[in-house]
Amino acid sequence: MSVTPLAAALALAAAWLAIAAIGVCAPHALRFVAKLLYPLGALVGLALAVTAFVAISQPPDETVLPLGLPDLPFHFRIDALSAFFLLILGSVAAGVSVFAAGYLRPGEGAQPGVQCLWYHLFLASMALVLLANDAYAFMVTWETMAVSSFFLVTSDHRIPEIQRAGYLYLLIAHVGAIAILMCFGVLHGFGDYTFASIRQVELTPFWATVAYLLALFGFGAKAGIVPLHVWLPEAHPAAPSPVSALMSAVMLKTAIYGMLRVTFDLLHTQIWWWGVLALAIGLMTALFGVVFSAVQSDMKRLLAWSSIENIGFIVVGFGLGVTFAAYKMHGLAALALTAMLYHCLNHAYFKSLLFLATGAVLHATRERGLGKLGGLIHRMPWVAWLALVGALATAGLPPLNGFVSEWLLLQAFLFTPSLPDSYLNMLVPVAAAAIALAAALSAYVMVKFYGVVFLGQPREEKLAHAHDAGLWERAGLVWLAAGCVLLGVLPVQVITLIDFVTGPMLGTNLSKATGATHWLFLAPINAERASYSPLLVIVGLAVLTGLAWLAVRRFYHGRVRRAPPWDCGFPLLNARMQDTAEGFGQPVRVVFEPFFRMQRELPSPFDAAPRYRLTIEDHLWYWCYLPVARVVDRLTALVTLLQRGRISVYLLYSFATLLVLLFLVR
């Protein structure tokens, strides 16, 4: 009796639901929930990852559960695409849950049991979103995901800002869900709402475009593409760190999954300008995200904006893939999509790692503002060194994982001149340049993040007794950091995995397109064209660094003396003299001034207690959102005129209605 991967995946999702149910039965049992249920959840995640790993290479498998609507029971299906995202979900969730086991504290936010309920409901609903195979099941699980994450975001709901963040989040999520629902409505033609029958529908280009745009809007609202990103920097910091990690690492990816599912699976043919649109949006998102994250002074907001940037990269890859696919250049489409999927995987790892690290810092110091941290590498070495891995990966530096996907993406760009459309050929170099710029900026951001939080002198006295992370937390961090390194040094093996995904979508995949690949070298087209071997790079780096070290040791026996810092001979050095977060962001603020809506309060030279205040806001909030709110407000003001309390007027309404209808029927 062998169990199919689909059955296993559903069973595991059910297991998460069960854990959630158990948790809510024991709302106050902190130790029980933290030390038993969360590790159990982690095990389930691990099992899910293994299942997905098995399923990804197997043919699709479907099943129907007798739930849902009578005419439309829940259909579930696992194919390579969903398996790939399930792999992300499972493996990341394992690490995050282990971390959360050590992270839960008494008296923080909601009762632990309730938190456990929403947390595992969130995990289960994400798994089911990826498995859903009909519109109804998809919408149900999708919205359940939104609701459960909303309750997690607002778990510490006594703070008004958090309430506001949660409201904004759920509202935009709901609007997006409405768009997705309309998208399915357009897609389904006249069949029923199973994806199987939607696939059969042949849409006219116009309706296909409508469906695509609705999907881009709906899923984009969840992914946080500009200008639908406003909820993300609010909601991510509000949530407890493991939740921010999951939201940023996995939930955003489910939106990407939705885009892929609709564009490459449910729709048969693509139109070239769809891709260009996505490309433009993606670029805007990437630049916007990175520029804003460079000027943040709250570490979780900084990471949230950097998530927006990475989503931008992913959407750019998606757009390239769509364009290539529309021109039937499937090999190149495979390259672009591979880059994008790879980046999904990478971002899931390094961003969750960094969010968890900030969580550990938060617990150790009770501080989120970068302006009050610093020098933690001495107090919490574990977190610091593991965070360094995450930071370097996020900065997209070799030989870690962030670099691989950026490398693939740039390779994909380098092939665009073969596109038939000359305008595109003009456009794409600029796009490539923008990508390069964003990548370089992300390095800037990460130096700021890491340097201000972990390096330098502690900016507050209380940081002196910050404690390092506990065992559970370390385990989670190590798991994710190991993921970052492995994904970085074994790209070829990962890509063979991704090939299973791109294959069914495009009819070809990278290996097929490029012929046999070498186990050591990542050569997407051929070795002459371009090749990269992170393993060799890391070995070379290690060897050379080691040799240098040995040589220095061998030949010169200079001693090492400790002394006060030199600092150009400046005698009275204190922590206040280091760059603040704002100071470090200043160049970006100057160079990219038009991006921001800044309000400065500069102290006058005669101030007894000089204060410097700077608020940086988002133009889009004022350009896109407030006008809509105003219009709705006007309309409501208009509508209320209907109800002014005079009974004669009310009678007049009925009378007029009657007369009008009588006129109509004559």
Partner: protein, 319 residues
């Protein structure tokens, strides 16, 4: 080309690395000497950098209180990165067994890695100058890095490859066609490398004035062998950039494949080109004035624009 391994290739690779490591300070010395001549000074002599390195190596290393292990490992990593970069760039021959490990993009990545580490190290002690230098360095970085990348893209679009060896082969073998894009790219590259190597007009290697310094501000806290490694790495960086420039824009004379005669011929050619390049660098530094740090973004922005322009021109005219 990926897997097969030849002793000739290996030896070529090794000679190249050794050559780079050993010649780099000389190049630096040569540039300083030329600058001295151009400024009517007698100059310290071309071997000065070697002496400096030796002196520093012999000295005690003074490490500030509150310096983390990161501070002490950074120099080694930076040095390693630079040597790695030197190993990838074809200087004498194009048959480098190690080159496939990293192409142009990876090269930029490795340089960025070095930059990130040195900036982090600069922030480690937590002095005013260190953070200032790190901030300015990263600013230069995020403006210069994409420009460099785009320059490399232009070349690799011409040669249909991002692996430097292949690029050099194509460029050196081509019949003498005019590539206007390469001209733009060349200007952009020059500006970028000026900035990246902390030369005038962006930075002045020979000053410790707070307002002007970038690279020096970062390494203020270093001393002894650490400082030596960093200085060496800096000269290596200069060497690497010059070699990239040569490889992209004047690749003639670089040995194709692994023929020994070619290598023997390539050595003097390289030396000659480096000498010229160093002199030109000195010339530029002499005739131009150090610009205020706030103007640096404009300077590098121009470089970036030129690079993109080069790419556009390539897409427009040369395909």
């Amino acid at each position: 080309m990926l897997s097969e391994f030849s002793w000739a290739g290996a030896s070529a690779q090794l000679t190249e690395i050794l050559l780079a490591v050993l010649l780099a300070p000389l190049l630096l010395g040569w540039v300083n000497q030329c600058r001295a001549w151009l400024q009517n000074r007698s100059g310290p002599g071309v071997l000065r950098p070697y002496l400096t390195l030796r002196k520093l190596m012999a000295k005690d290393a003074v490490v500030a209180h509150g310096a983390s292990p990161l501070f002490r490992t950074a120099p080694y990593i930076v040095f390693g990165c630079m040597v790695l970069a030197a190993a990838i760039v074809p200087t004498l021959g194009t048959d480098l067994p190690y080159a496939p490990a990293a192409d142009a993009i990876a090269l930029v990545g490795i340089l960025a890695l070095a930059r990130v580490f040195i900036s982090l190290a600069a922030m480690d002690i937590g002095t005013a100058f260190g953070t200032l230098g790190a901030r300015r360095e990263m600013m230069i970085g995020f403006l210069a890095e994409p420009a460099l990348l785009i320059v490399l893209f232009t070349a690799s679009l011409i040669s249909q490859s991002t692996s430097l060896a292949t690029t050099v082969e194509t460029l050196s073998q081509r019949e003498l066609a005019i590539y206007p894009s390469l001209a733009f790219a060349g200007v952009a590259f020059t500006m970028v490398s000026l900035a990246e190597n902390a030369r005038i007009p962006i930075d002045n290697p020979a000053t410790h004035l707070e307002l002007t310094m970038i690279h020096e501000a970062m390494v203020l806290e270093y001393s002894g062998r650490h400082l030596a490694l960093i200085e060496w790495a800096a000269s290596l960086k200069l060497f690497v950039y010059s070699c990239i420039g040569i490889a992209l824009f004047f690749p003639f004379g670089i040995a194709q494949g692994g023929d020994a005669a070619g290598l023997l011929l390539a050595l003097p050619a390289l030396a000659f080109k480096l000498a010229i390049g160093g002199f030109l660098l000195a010339l530029i530094e002499t005739v131009s004035a150090k610009m205020r740090i706030f103007r640096a973004p404009e300077f590098l922005g121009t470089a970036f624009m030129l690079a993109v322009l080069a790419l556009l021109i390539h897409a427009l005219l040369e395909t």
